[in-house]
């Protein structure tokens, strides 16, 4: 009966271990990965992150004139592959984990891109920012072919070669 009293000096020595979480700071280490944050200034809308994302938490949705990079944190597995693969280093891994919400709609966050239109067929094929980036990177770029979608570009270059002969 007195046997349980043995625990009293042990508990007195160790003291309280319980963390006072809601009133105290949570234990977040240096290597912890939380929700990601897309920097809208840096993002060009190339879609590298949407292709690497294992659960497709990042996805492209076309809404008329705009292309939307949608991040659904409810499906994110916090692997950080999008941040590794982003060529513009636009994705930052934050330490945010208090993401609970009573509505699924609140868990989405969108980055809106404007699309450029093909001069020939009127198809929307690439974001304006990505096109400008390519324009700056490649020096000898035929200007008349730049604003054409890949299919029209093929036709245009074929017509040109046939005209030359």
């Amino acid at each position: 009966m007195v046997k349980f009293l043995k625990i009293l000096p042990i508990s007195a020595k160790i003291g309280t271990v319980t963390v006072m979480y809601p009133y105290d700071r949570p234990l977040v280490t240096e290597s912890f990965r939380g929700a990601i944050e897309v920097d809208p200034g840096k993002c060009v809308g190339c879609g590298a992150c949407t292709r690497i994302c294992p659960p497709k938490a990042l996805s492209f949705i076309q809404e008329g004139e705009t292309l939307i990079l949608r991040y659904f944190v409810g499906r994110c597995i916090f692997c950080g592959m999008c941040a590794d693969t982003c060529p513009e280093k636009a994705i930052k891994i934050t330490k945010e984990f208090e993401l609970a919400s009573s509505s699924l709609y609140e868990l989405y966050s969108d980055v809106q891109h404007s699309l450029s239109t093909c001069r020939r067929c009127g198809k929307k094929f690439v974001t304006r920012k990505l096109m400008n980036k390519v324009k700056n990177l490649v020096k000898e770029l035929p200007e008349e072919l730049l604003e054409l979608c890949p299919n029209c570009r093929r036709i245009e270059s074929l017509l040109r070669t046939t005209n030359l002969r």
Binding site: T18, G74, R75, C76, A100, Y108, D110, Q112
Partner: protein
């Protein structure tokens, strides 16, 4: 002693019950094909380190005794009938907490043939067959941290305001 059971109740009674539920709630753990990661985190919440019994939260063995169902996993087709049975046994007001990215959005199995892909997909169907879920809280995380689960409970009970909001920015 005669035990009276309430078979019909008005919306007013339900609101009263939802207001009263701010104090201690009893939880029931429902695994619907989870990988065990979120289940271990739920176990973590109950251990002396995070000790949710200081808020009066207790784990119970039967859905008939519970206020809040802790749902983990993407709801596989095999477990769907059991999920419906367990949720039907829960008394009103019926609260559900979807823990982990599987239960919230389906994770990497969101378009798989053998899973439903998240709790939100069966929410309307449950409503149709008469299982009304009064409040749902989604706790993302893979697995959800014990702190995130405690935070989710606080948001569910209205003690804290949720931090995340829908945002749309121009690039």
């Amino acid at each position: 002693m005669k035990i009276t059971t309430i078979t019909s109740f008005s919306e007013k009674d339900l609101e009263k019950a939802l207001a009263k539920i701010k104090r201690s709630i009893w939880v029931y753990h429902l695994n619907t094909g989870s990988c065990n990661g979120c289940d271990i985190e739920i176990l973590d919440v109950l251990t002396p380190w995070f000790d949710v019994e200081r808020f009066g939260i207790r784990l119970v063995a039967s859905p008939r005794h519970t206020d809040l169902v802790l749902l983990t996993g993407p709801i596989t087709v095999k477990t769907l009938s059991k999920v419906i049975k367990a949720l039907r046994a829960v008394p009103r007001p019926r609260l559900v907490m979807a823990i982990g990215s599987c239960a919230v959005g389906g994770n990497i199995w969101f378009e798989s043939y053998s899973t439903i892909g998240g709790f939100y997909k069966i929410l309307d169907k449950l409503n149709d067959i008469g299982i009304v879920v009064d409040r749902v809280i989604y706790v993302p995380g893979c697995p959800a941290r014990p702190e995130a689960i405690i935070y989710g409970t606080a948001v569910l009970l209205g003690l804290l305001k949720p931090k995340t909001h829908y945002k749309r920015v121009e690039a």
